[in-house]
Each structure stands twice: as structure tokens, then as C-alpha cells.
Subunit: 330 residues, 2 copies
DNA sequence: CTATTTTATTTAAACGTTTAAATAGCTAAT
DNA sequence: ATTAGCTATTTAAACGTTTAAATAAAATAG
């Protein structure tokens, strides 16, 4: 382990001032600096394997070249995919990612947020869990620019956001089920106050009502921390009804509970058509045809970083992305 | 947005020196400081909502309270789960995680590593992709302590590592297949020079040879960037052989290709028993019984952080964890 | 031959902390 | 009355940069 060389070390060895070394290595004042001196300094810097101290730079410049990313739950494929792409996009711009997963816990989210603010990240990309929407004052107060991802909070003033057009996506689901000749449909969604999830169900219900008639549209809600049990009850209920021939799972977590429970209980796709939100690789193991609502995750990640670096004064943009529905396991 | 208050601001307002403010807010020299002055300073600090500048602190202390985590591929459930837990463990110790995903690209890995070293992370946790094992000089040179996770590199001197006992895990697989009354087994593994993967196949082959006889043990290799095609060929070959009644998929990625291709082609588990490495949620959607090799991911993450903070001079420990095999979809 | 400009380099302050050492104003001991 | 010993606080240097401003030396102009 070698001691890190500083500008001072180089300056000493080259018998010049620290400032001159700084100028040379940063390529500033170049026309004024003696070429030979410059070369000598560069050589010595190489020799000592100089690498600038980023912390000192940050202190001076007030820039950390770090962006903070807090996702709602990294163990969810959705977010791990996004995290990877945001990291990549950020890297491409010379930024690094300080990372946190809130696991849907608003307290944990707020703690993470405070840490990132304290760390003086240059920007924040946030997927905010339910119950943490009182964080905006802190963020705004910090002066750090930020972009919301996946989840929008219109009642907090439609802040810079990149997310799916959930209403529209769900309308597509209803259309899809209609086109598959369903006559009676059901949806299983999370009991949640998150706006984007509400929009999802609203889009489904409103559009389905048009297509199938209100009496042929049912929404079920499950409580997150009793997923398995509530899904079990719901699935039984749905199957008992016989008439339901179209089913939408509104999150991938729900699908992961629902799908196994449908196995061998109903003929898919003959007697029941299934659509699930969030294409996940896992669905490939499901032995029946199903349709998935595919979110453009790469675009979403890319756009989030773009918006973050976009300095236009317009900090109240919601950027909606469109879902596509594709068939799997055909 | 309020300007961040510094010690100086507090000192000015309280008419004391910066040093005194620092002492008070850090609770140092407490017995020597006038209680009233201290209280006044604390009040003013509160009022100005003082938060220490971590960057300045880092510059002084040479500590960033950041650990760098580079995983081989964040979109793999295995690593996203680990990433979450490492982040949590680190947070518990007052550390934050600077995050990177190398996507199995050694160049990208090395770039990320350099960035983290430049950022002066206090520690590194690394899952190193194939072809990047020439990174150790740089790391050692940097003097940053580090822990390898998931993948061991014994030919680089058995550095601090937390990983599965892969040989043993694979022996268990062979045992499992034996106990399920298989008579002829096959394994599908990645064509790779990574030691842990080699150990995996070695354990399987050696133990299977004992149980089933060499002529009843076959290993197939797939090339990572032609996964789908090569798996397709292999699966056809295996099915054509008729005799093979036990199959092991040596990574979850392989399983995700193999399993769909087996659907409806063979009676599972009657005619073919399947064991897959890395329990992933996805397997729940597979409509047949199968066994999975479960890695203790939480323990692994926790242990990695522990080892990182463990200052014992022993930097050549390989900490092996044991796999368990469980049945799914019974 | 002084004055001005140009070239090359240095000085010094600043970013926000920490902390050893110095100091100043007391009180108590000799 | 001097010294020593407290108590409470300040000074100043340091961490490694950046950069405006100062300076010194050399070159050019008048």
C-alpha cells in the first residue's frame, strides 16, 4: 500500500508551487505555462501515480458527482433492473450512485433520504413508499434537484416525475381482455393509497365497465403483509363464481401469488385469460399462455437521469411512458 | 431552499470561536465547557438547523463512511437480494453504499473499481466477473480493505471471502438425486473459468460418479451469450437419451431457460427429477415439483459486512456457508 | 533607459471541519 | 506575593484542492 500522493508532494518534488501543479494537471492557464515545467510536473505526477482527492475537490466545488437513488424495494425485479440502468446512465455522465432500498417502509425511506442529503448528493432519484410523501419539504429545503420515478404524487404539485401512464396501461388491459373475448373480468390489486396504483385500478375499472358492463367487473384488494392468505381467499372466490373469464394481476408480487394458485384449478387460457403487470422473467416458467403489461424500464431509467440533469426551470413535469402488452408462453 | 449553516455561522451568531462550537456539538471537552455557553450554542445550532458537512469531515478524518459494492449483475435476483441486505447491514453501522453493477464485464468492473477507490470508500465488497482477477494489485495498492462475495479466487491467495461451499452443495445435489432414486443424472452448467462454478460441477460429478457410476453422469456446458440456443440443443439431447432421470441446473439463469423447455416434454417428477441452484421466487410458477439449492443470502450479506469491519490481521479467510436443499411446489 | 507588456510562477484565501496547543482570567496553595 | 492549578475559551494549523490576485523576471515599446 502506497501513500496517496497529493499536489503538495508533486510540488515539492518538482520544486514549484502547489498552484502551478494544479494548473498544469487541470489544463488551465495552459498558454501561460512553460512547456518544459508542465511536462516535468506531469511526469512526476505519473511517477507518483497521482490521483486527485475527490473529497477535497468536492469541498471546494460543492459538487460530489454522486446521485442518490432510493428505490422502494430492491428485491423487486422491477427496481433492480431500474437501479442497474440508472447506475449505468449516471456513470456515463461521470456520476456515481449512492444507493438505498426503503423496503416500502416510510421511516426507512426518510432516514435514507436524510443521509443522502447530508452526503450532499447532487441529485436524487426516488421511488417513494406509501406514507412518505411528507418528505418533499426536506428535499426542497435541501435545494437538491430530484426526480420521482415509477410513482407520482400529483397532490404534492406534480413534481418532476417519470412514470408509466398507468390509467392508459390499464385501459389497454381491459381492451386486451375484450379482444380475447372475455365477458366477465376481475382485477386483483394492492390495497394502497399510492396514486399510480389507484390510477391503475381506475383505468381498468372504468374501461372494463364500458366493455363488459359494471356487473361484470370486479376489483379485489389484497393487503400487502397478508398477501398469501388474502390471495388464497380471493382466488377461491373467483373460481367459485365460474363466470369470470378474464383476470388481471396489478402488480408482479400479486401475480407471483395468484398464478401458482391457479395451476390445475382452471383451464388457461381457454376458461380464463390472464394479464399481469410488469413483465418478469419468472412468467416464463408458468405453463400457460398469459399476457403481460410491459413497462419500458430502460427508457424510464434513462429519462429519469436525463430529467435530473435537465436544468430547465420546469420542475413540474410528469413524463408519462406507455406500456405495451405482449403475449407470453404462446 | 436555505443556505446550509456551518460551524462558522453558529460561531458568529453565538459570538464564540468555531472551535468551541465544534467541541460543544461533538460533546468533546465537555467537562471544561461552561454549561450556559454550551446550551446557547446548541440552541443556535438547532435554530439554524445545522447539519455537519460530511465532506469536510471526510477530508479531515480520511473516512468517508461509505462502502463500495460492485456486483456482477444487479438484474440477477441473487445479487439484488444481496445488495439490499448489504446496504441494510452497512446502514446499521453508519455506513452508506456506493453501488455498481459490472454486468459480468471485466472492463466495466475495473472502471467501477477505480471510481470507488478514487472516491475513497472505506471498504469494498466485490463479486468479481470472469477475467477481472487482475484487479487485486490495484485494490491492495489502494490500501482499502475488501471482502469478496459469492466468488472465490484461491489462486490469488485466498483473500477474505464469503461464499457458498460449492463443492459440498453439489455433493448434496447428487445425494438428493440418489435419494430420489435416480439412476442416471446430467448437469447443465455455464462454460466458465470461475472457480466457484468449477467447484460446483466438480462436486456434482465426483459425488455422482460414486453414486451412479461414471457412465451414468453427464455434464453439459452452455455458453453464456448463446444461452437459449445451447440449452435448446442440450435439452433435446437429454430427452433423446431417455435414460436420464435426474437433472441439475447449475445457475438460476440456466434454470430459467431449461425449465420452460421441459414443460410438456417429460413427466416431472415421475420421469425426471430436477434440482436447481439458487432458490428464486420464479420457481413457484413452475407447475412441477422440483428441488432447489438454497444459498443463505442474508447470512452471506451479513457476514460479508462483518468480515469487512473485522480488523483482525487475518485477511486470508475464506468463510464457507452451507447450502440447503428444499423441495418446492410439492 | 525608463515604462509597459508579456510570460511564468507564487501567494494566499477559501471550502468546513478537527484538535493540539496557547492563552486569559480565575482561585487556591505556598 | 508569587506560583501553581483550574476553568473556559481561542488560536492556528491541518486535511487537499481551486483560483483570483500578486509578483517577479524577461521582453518589448517609447
Amino acid at each position: 500500500m502506497r501513500k496517496k500522493a497529493s499536489l503538495k508532494d508533486i510540488a515539492n518534488k518538482a520544486n514549484v508551487s502547489i498552484a502551478l501543479v494544479s494548473y498544469v494537471l487541470n489544463g488551465k492557464n495552459t498558454k501561460k505555462i512553460n512547456v518544459e515545467t508542465a511536462n516535468r510536473i506531469k511526469e512526476i505526477a505519473d511517477e507518483l501515480q497521482y490521483r486527485p482527492n475527490q473529497i477535497a475537490k468536492s469541498l471546494k466545488s460543492n459538487k460530489t458527482y454522486t446521485i442518490g437513488l432510493i428505490v422502494a424495494d430492491i428485491s423487486n425485479f422491477f427496481y433492480s433492473y431500474i437501479a442497474g440502468h440508472i447506475e449505468e446512465e449516471a456513470n456515463n455522465r461521470g456520476y456515481n450512485v449512492l444507493f438505498g432500498s426503503a423496503y416500502e417502509d416510510p421511516k426507512r425511506f426518510k432516514k435514507l433520504l436524510q443521509v443522502m442529503i447530508d452526503r450532499q448528493v447532487d441529485g436524487l432519484i426516488l421511488a417513494i413508499p406509501e406514507g412518505a410523501d411528507d418528505c418533499f419539504d426536506d428535499i426542497i429545503d435541501s435545494g437538491i434537484s430530484y426526480v420521482l420515478i415509477d410513482r407520482e404524487f400529483p397532490f404534492c404539485g406534480s413534481l418532476k416525475t417519470v412514470c408509466l401512464d398507468n390509467y392508459n396501461a390499464s385501459s389497454l388491459v381491459a381492451e386486451k381482455l375484450k379482444s380475447l373475448n372475455c365477458t366477465s373480468v376481475a382485477g386483483i390489486a394492492l390495497q394502497s393509497n399510492l396514486y399510480h396504483l389507484k390510477e391503475r385500478t381506475r383505468g381498468f375499472v372504468e374501461t372494463s365497465n364500458l366493455f363488459f358492463g359494471e356487473q361484470n367487473v370486479q376489483m379485489y384488494r389484497v393487503i400487502e403483509d397478508q398477501l398469501a392468505e388474502s390471495v388464497s381467499t380471493i382466488v377461491k372466490d373467483i373460481l367459485a363464481q365460474k363466470s369470470i373469464d378474464g383476470l388481471c394481476c396489478f402488480t408482479n408480487k400479486i401475480a407471483m401469488e395468484v398464478l401458482p394458485q391457479l395451476l390445475n384449478k382452471v383451464e388457461i387460457p381457454q376458461d380464463m385469460r390472464i394479464v399481469c403487470f410488469d413483465e418478469v422473467e419468472a412468467f416464463r416458467l408458468f405453463p400457460h399462455k398469459l399476457s403481460v403489461v410491459k413497462q419500458p424500464l430502460y427508457e424510464m431509467s434513462k429519462k429519469a437521469v436525463e430529467l435530473l440533469f435537465d436544468d430547465s426551470k420546469n420542475d413540474k413535469v410528469v413524463h408519462y411512458l406507455n406500456a405495451t402488452i405482449t403475449d407470453m408462453n404462446t
